[in-house]
């Protein structure tokens, strides 16, 4: 009985972490869809989200809903600018130039923002936006932070679903992911759709950043690196470019990480995630939901 309760508790914790990974992984996978680019700066947008929320809560004492809205808008803006400044000029350049630029943008954000006058390289305690309460559901306990993460993630995914499947921009985004030239011949402005994709991806990373800050209240300019890599692995696991794949991949990675910490040792936590990456690349490189690539 106690064992089952312990496992259930880990499932709740795993979904909590996995939800954040899913939110970040969506940005990787959508951007990959339209640009065939692994946007390495994406983890840093997640970090930025946590910092914007930190300033909004600690300096301005804004209510939680406003923190979410303003953080999403800021991250969307940053995502938009990153694409326009760094990636758009390289539209016709070889893919490797784009990839190197993405690494450059990532390093720039991390080291520029770690200046003393800005975020500093230190760990900063993330302020509590509300008092943490714990509810005992007899089999496991759940906190209001976890509930918030579940609800916000669910709402975000629902809005994303509507955007992608029910609006003309969403249809255009899926078309651009499949075939840019034909989409443009149908009247779709490719640059606009790419911007749209970055805006959506960055807003979701911003949401992830706030939730992560609330759940693990220590933030730092380099905090985006590991969650970024793990979310990228989640996107690969689900099948890069596939939207529901990113969500499922994120949840699996989150659950694995928590279970390894709980049943093996937290030292192996990150290692196991990389083993998953190796296994996926070796045995199913197209990911869980990917279609088998035809051998030439």
């Amino acid at each position: 009985m106690e064992q089952i309760s312990y496992i259930l508790q880990q499932v709740v914790n795993g979904i909590q972490l996995g939800a954040v990974y899913a939110l970040i992984a969506l940005g990787y996978t959508m951007v990959y869809g339209v640009l065939r680019l692994i946007n390495f700066a994406h983890g840093d947008v997640f970090m930025l989200g946590a910092f914007v929320a930190y300033f909004l809560i600690s300096k301005f004492g804004l209510p939680v809903y406003l923190v979410f809205i303003l953080t999403m808008v800021s991250c969307a803006l940053v995502g938009y600018v990153i694409e326009k400044v760094a990636y758009k000029p390289l539209r016709d350049a070889p893919k490797i130039s784009l990839l190197i630029t993405a690494v450059g943008v990532s390093l720039f954000l991390e080291y520029f923002l770690s200046l003393k006058a800005l975020f500093t390289p230190n760990y900063i305690p993330f302020p509590k936006p509300f008092e943490i309460e714990t509810y005992d559901l007899s089999f496991f306990v759940i906190t209001n932070v976890q509930l918030l993460i579940f609800i916000i993630t669910f709402i975000s995914l629902f809005i994303l679903y509507l955007l992608i499947y029910k609006t003309r921009y969403g249809i255009a985004m899926r078309a651009v992911s499949y075939d840019k030239e034909t989409a443009s011949l149908m009247g779709v402005g490719i640059d606009g759709i790419i911007s749209f994709t970055f805006i959506i991806g960055a807003s979701l990373a911003g949401v992830g950043g706030i939730l992560y800050g609330i759940a693990y209240p220590q933030i730092n300019v380099f905090m985006g690196i590991m969650p970024g890599i793990k979310s990228f692995i989640a996107a690969v696991l689900g099948g890069i470019g596939i939207i529901h794949g990113a969500v499922v991949g994120g949840l699996i990675i989150g659950l694995c990480e928590v279970f390894v910490s709980a049943f093996l040792s937290s030292t192996f936590r990150d290692g196991v995630i990389f083993i998953i990456l190796f296994a996926v690349l070796l045995f199913r490189p197209m990911g869980i939901f990917g279609k088998r690539i035809e051998k030439v």
Partner: protein
């Protein structure tokens, strides 16, 4: 050319040269189409037919010359802006989006249409013209047969409310029965909706049969032009393209 004559042309291509890096695909090519006309361009594989249509649609840019649509130069415009001006292309091999439903494919075709009433009218019109699509709206584009995909591709283009339709090899890979059906639908579109059409075809027989005028394209240059009814009986054309 004199000005008065220019005004009667819907599209006028003036001495364009198009290159793929260093390879010249079209050289000093000129062509015009009148309103309500169906024009065909025939030629062998690699003659530059697709290049010509892609250049009109804005996916390729000429290094020299000019393209005018209703008197305005469109050669610098991006493909999506050209669609807004009323030129829509049905690409070679249909290029249906296989993971989008038939309905979504059609909605994408109407991407530039902001007016909801017009969009709905166009949608009704497409379903009336291609009734086969009606039962398949929820199906994914990739599940359709070749002929149905060609209908979807044409329907998708009509959703953009074109005044000039560019058709790239509509008969490719279709059975003779489907080819005939597609061509009669093309005729219908031209007559009833007064949409002008440029069609490039390897199936020279069908192209000459259904068009008013024809250009013959060889190695990126126009080598013959004239009324389709006359070219059809031209010994050179018969020899090279109609194959007895």
């Amino acid at each position: 050319m004199n000005k008065i004559k220019n005004n009667t042309f819907l599209l006028e291509i003036d001495n364009i040269t198009v290159k793929y890096s260093s390879i010249t695909a079209l050289k000093d090519l000129s062509l015009y189409i009148k309103k309500g006309e169906m024009l065909s361009v025939i030629g062998a594989n690699g003659a530059g037919k697709t290049t010509l249509l892609k250049t009109i649609a804005g996916a390729l840019k000429p290094v020299k010359g000019d393209i005018r649509f209703e008197g305005f130069s469109i050669k610098q415009l991006r493909p999506d802006k050209i669609v807004k001006h009323g030129i829509v292309m049905v690409p070679e091999g249909r290029k249906i989006f296989p993971d989008l439903t038939v309905k979504e494919n059609l909605e994408l075709g109407g991407y530039t249409i902001k007016d909801r009433v017009l969009k709905k009218e166009l949608f009704e019109l497409v379903l009336k013209t291609f009734p086969r699509l009606k039962d398949r709206l929820k199906q994914h584009g990739g599940t359709l047969s070749g002929g149905e995909q060609q209908m979807l591709a044409m329907g998708r283009a009509l959703m953009g409310n074109p005044r000039l339709l560019l058709l790239d090899e509509p008969s490719m890979g279709l059975s003779p029965i489907f080819t005939r059906e597609i061509f009669s639908l093309i005729e219908l579109i031209r007559k009833e909706k007064s949409i002008s059409i440029i069609i490039v075809e390897q199936n020279a027989h069908m192209a000459l049969e259904h068009s008013q005028r024809t250009y013959v394209l060889e190695n990126g240059q126009i080598t013959m032009e004239g009324l389709s009814s006359e070219l059809k009986n031209n010994p050179k054309v018969i020899d090279a393209y109609l194959g007895v």
